[in-house]
């Protein structure tokens, strides 16, 4: 049971969302976007958050888009992880979606919810960082389309009342060679100890990571080292571990030292497989 009340709004258009946010902001009330609701319900239940209003975006046609045009794959923020996975339109993102929570929850959790949630791993962000994805947002100042990396520094940074409507993935990335390696401590369904996600563009390796640090990230310095074919895979993995943007994360799932160990080994395996393919 959620031990307090809130107002539930289910708008049918983008304008109705904006009007709703404006109206409640003027009344000094806290309104939040509601997609699958898993995290919001859980946090409300334990009183971690107290929204006055939840704005359910699942009825908005733009948020349910899942289609490819000549240039981009467009995915609405309210598409579920399972829909994205089963569409097979962007296999790398499908792999990421298929390893978040369990199957039943994947039928509820939305792309927007995973990106904007408070759980630190936000694994759907990794394929977006690697593919030069763009996002369309809507807010009190209107609609804007920007590179995903401009609004994401490990967590989504948007203005008050602004929210993600769609993500757009360039078509080159959809069938590009890729790898998705998620290491957990024991169970398959768990938070990542280390998640290494990779995509190759013109035989150049791009990598993004989750679990190893307290936020997901992509690093040009690490990519430069990983693409240095003059070094052995072991040395490249060692150097990459030295270039982490912050000390490895430490929690009950794994110590900093253990995460760094798994990170190096996972990278090394990835590089060795790539080296063997190139030989």
């Amino acid at each position: 049971m959620i031990p307090f009340d809130f107002v539930y709004c289910r708008p049918d258009t983008l304008n109705e969302v904006t009007d709703t946010f404006k109206r409640y902001q003027n009344e000094n009330k806290k309104a939040i976007c509601y997609g699958g609701g898993s995290e919001i319900i859980t946090m409300c239940r334990v009183s971690s958050i107290h929204p006055d209003v939840v704005v359910d975006i699942k009825n908005i046609p733009e948020c349910r888009v899942l289609e490819k045009d000549n240039f981009f794959l467009n995915i609405g923020a309210a598409c579920t992880l399972n829909q994205i996975k089963e569409s097979k339109l962007f296999p790398l993102l499908g792999l990421a979606c298929g390893r978040i929570a369990d199957h039943t929850n994947q039928c509820r959790i939305t792309l927007g919810g995973n990106l904007c949630g408070t759980i630190i791993y936000r694994e759907t962000s990794l394929p977006l960082l690697l593919s030069d994805a763009e996002v369309t947002t809507s807010g009190l100042d209107g609609i804007r389309r920007v590179p995903f990396q401009n609004i994401f520094d490990g967590r989504v940074r948007l203005k008050e009342g602004e929210w993600i409507v769609q993500v757009h993935i360039p078509v080159w990335a959809l069938q590009a060679r890729h790898a998705h390696i998620k290491k957990t401590t024991q169970e398959k369904i768990d938070y990542p100890l280390v998640n290494v996600t990779a995509i190759w563009k013109d035989d150049v390796l791009r990598t993004a990571f989750s679990g190893i640090c307290s936020r997901p990230f992509r690093s040009s310095q690490i990519e430069a080292v990983l693409n240095d074919h003059g070094l052995s895979p072991e040395i490249r993995a060692e150097k990459a571990a030295e270039l982490l943007p912050e000390p490895p994360y430490h929690d009950v799932e794994g110590s900093s030292e253990y995460r760094a160990f798994v990170f190096r080994n996972t990278l090394c395996e990835l590089l060795e497989a790539w080296q063997n393919d190139r030989a």
Partner: protein, 162 residues
């Protein structure tokens, strides 16, 4: 646009019947099913989306009713174990395979397996079955028998088709 505040009467389609219930927007579907409609097959386990004991079927897909607001379920078709009628293929298969011990998780497993059969009328490969079953926990560890029940469920469908 729908906007609900305070206690409101909404209509839910559960097991093919339309029910009017009075809910707060923050009421979760599990509580409404159990406490207002008396449909107690969906169990409260972790109430955190982890155990799957509260699984019901929403528009043909499995959903953890502890992680869904009742107001979200308007205009959707909800099926609980009560809606299976007692003689569904999945229920017979669970009995035949003895796929339970204490039985607390059984409703959730029945619904996830029934949804699996709904979405995959022909038996999918083992990886898919495992993926679906991993959404639910059985603390008595009847996993082998539950897996066997899934096979029996599909066998009975195949036999019925012949």
């Amino acid at each position: 646009m729908i906007e609900l505040e305070g206690k409101t009467v909404i209509s839910l389609n559960v097991n093919g019947d339309s029910h009017e219930v009075m809910v707060r927007p923050s009421d979760i579907l599990l509580d409404v099913l159990r406490e207002q409609l008396g449909l107690t097959s969906a169990k409260a386990g972790c109430k955190n989306g982890d155990c799957g004991a509260c699984t019901v079927m929403v528009d043909g897909w499995p959903a953890k009713s502890c992680l869904m607001l009742a107001v979200e379920a308007q205009d959707k078709k909800i099926i609980t174990v009560e809606g299976l009628g007692g003689k569904a293929a999945v229920q017979k298969a669970f009995v035949e395979a003895n796929a339970f011990q204490c039985g607390y998780c059984t409703s959730g497993f029945l619904m996830v397996c029934h949804a699996l059969m709904t979405q995959h009328p022909v038996m999918p490969d083992e990886i898919v079955i495992e993926e679906w079953l991993q959404s639910n926990l059985c603390r008595c560890t009847s996993y082998q028998e539950i897996r066997k029940a899934v096979h029996l469920m599909y066998d009975s469908l195949q036999a019925a088709d012949v």
